[in-house]
């Protein structure tokens, strides 16, 4: 059986950051597997400039951060398998990979790893309304992949559901791609994402309907009309407030949920956390799960954003390298303290506080902290 020092599932910001940090500390056999054809995860869809401090390459576009990470990973000798999905996780840290070969064929490979880091990200939630399965209705992230990765317009007139940062940013990017955003619909009485993102699409002329929802999508071959209505305080549609919008695309930005297949498969202990998108694995301040030697980072441990994913990845990379003997306890502690300080900074302010509370709940649920 092949053996590796560290195997990382997922080559998004968290996985790549973990790999780079571990390799930088001296780890020699670091392998990252990703089921997509290109590494980088969601970063290559993020064509906007990121927020954050200079420590997080703020003001840099996600796509450029992705390229920087790939260059760094290469520099430190990190091995990346693309088109390769982690399909199994077993006792003694054996991970099964369906490896994509150059020939286009696939083969199953079992790897014995000393440390495993799960950075599998999150998947989009859907919303059900009458007609939600009509062609033209898709996740906002899917539409973003179409325009920013595949350069294909999903249609011309878009209704966006959900005003979190994903809904606001993807609305903006759809307009940059040449689509019209007919309306942004939000069930809550307030806009969920950052005001500056909302302001961008407002001055581009997009109306935002708060306290509204989609009642029905109509169409034969694909969606052609969207019926929206105002909601009362108990979230029930108010009869008589229906409006019909003409649209050929409906994008759903109703939040994400952590992808936890491998987590559940190997019985990593989880806890339910609504703020983080559902079931998330418990972990300690090293990002180590309830299964020794298996670390969890990024959206897998609760849906946040790219900057926190990067930092959590770095944390696990440092912790794994320390356990493998590549860092002294003193050096590792200093690195980890810096990362935690930056993470705390990212979880501040009115938008960060909820995530700070959620993360503290996860940490407190970890067996060793709870004793």
């Amino acid at each position: 059986m092949i053996s590796k020092e560290i195997v990382i599932a997922g080559a998004g910001p968290a996985g790549l950051a973990a790999a780079i940090e571990a390799a930088k500390a001296g780890a020699k056999e670091v392998l990252v597997v990703d089921l997509n054809l290109k590494p980088g995860g969601q970063l290559f869809k993020q064509i906007h400039k990121f927020f954050g401090s200079s420590a997080h390459r703020s003001g840099t576009r996600g796509i450029d951060i992705g390229n920087q990470l790939l260059t760094e990973a290469k520099e430190y000798g990190v091995e990346i398998w693309v088109n390769s999905a982690a399909v199994g996780l077993f006792h003694d840290r054996i991970i099964s990979i369906e490896k994509g070969l150059d020939s286009g064929e696939k083969e199953l490979v079992n790897i014995q790893a000393q440390k495993i880091i799960l950075a599998t990200g999150a998947s989009e939630n859907v919303v059900r309304f009458k007609g939600w399965t009509l062609p033209g209705i898709m996740g906002a992230g899917a539409a973003q992949t179409m325009i920013n990765v595949n350069r294909v317009k999903p249609g011309n007139k878009v209704v966006m559901l959900g005003s979190g940062n994903v809904g606001l940013i993807v609305s903006y990017q759809l307009m940059q791609a040449g689509c019209d955003v007919v309306a942004l619909i939000e069930a809550a009485p307030k806009i969920g994402g950052y005001g500056v993102h909302a302001a961008k699409i407002r001055r581009a002329g997009v109306p935002i309907y708060t306290s509204h929802t989609i009642i029905e999508a109509k169409g034969t071959e694909r969606v052609s009309e969207v019926v929206i209505a105002e909601l009362d305080r108990s979230w029930n549609p108010i009869p008589g407030t229906e409006k019909v919008l003409e649209a050929d695309v409906v994008t759903l930005a109703a939040g994400l949920k952590p992808i936890s297949d491998l987590v559940r498969l190997h019985d990593l202990k989880c806890v339910y956390n609504a703020a983080f998108g559902g079931w998330v694995p418990k972990h300690d301040r090293n990002m180590e799960s309830t299964q020794p030697g298996i670390y969890v980072v990024g959206d897998t441990t609760g849906v946040e954003e790219a900057n926190t994913a990067l930092e959590e990845g770095r944390l696990a990379g440092v912790a794994a390298a320390e356990r493998l003997g590549y860092l002294t306890q003193t050096d590792a502690s200093a690195l980890k303290d810096d990362i935690w300080e930056r993470l705390d900074g990212l979880r501040m302010g009115p938008f960060g506080e909820k995530r700070m509370v959620a993360k503290n709940q996860i940490l407190a649920a970890f067996p060793e902290c709870a004793k």
Binding site: E98, N110, K130, L262, L265
Partner: protein, 94 residues
């Protein structure tokens, strides 16, 4: 609230399971996501519940007045992602 969700609305696209069928499963005694899955196959298709699991959870919460936590989550068995028989038959590289 419920009136807007017709019983013939699809919830699990892979296995073509409707709201009505899920409600029927609950009436038969399903109390969580796994219970609904066993009775209706919702979440057993190609996407393995990635799309419908949360909707099944919502219907359970709505019908039984339970929390999402109580509705639970789906059980997983390897392979965690769909793989072809050809790949499986190719055997495990040692």
């Amino acid at each position: 609230m419920d009136s807007k969700f017709d019983d013939d609305m699809l919830v699990c696209r892979c296995e073509e399971v409707t709201v009505g069928e899920i409600k029927e499963a609950i009436a038969q005694g399903a109390r969580d996501v796994v219970g609904v899955k066993r009775r209706t196959r919702a979440g057993m298709g190609l996407c393995q519940g990635r799309t419908c699991e949360k909707m099944v959870q919502q219907i359970l919460c709505q019908e039984l007045g339970i929390s999402p936590e109580e509705a639970g989550c789906s059980s997983i068995r390897p392979p965690a992602r769909p793989i072809t028989f050809g790949t499986l038959a190719g055997g495990m590289k040692e």
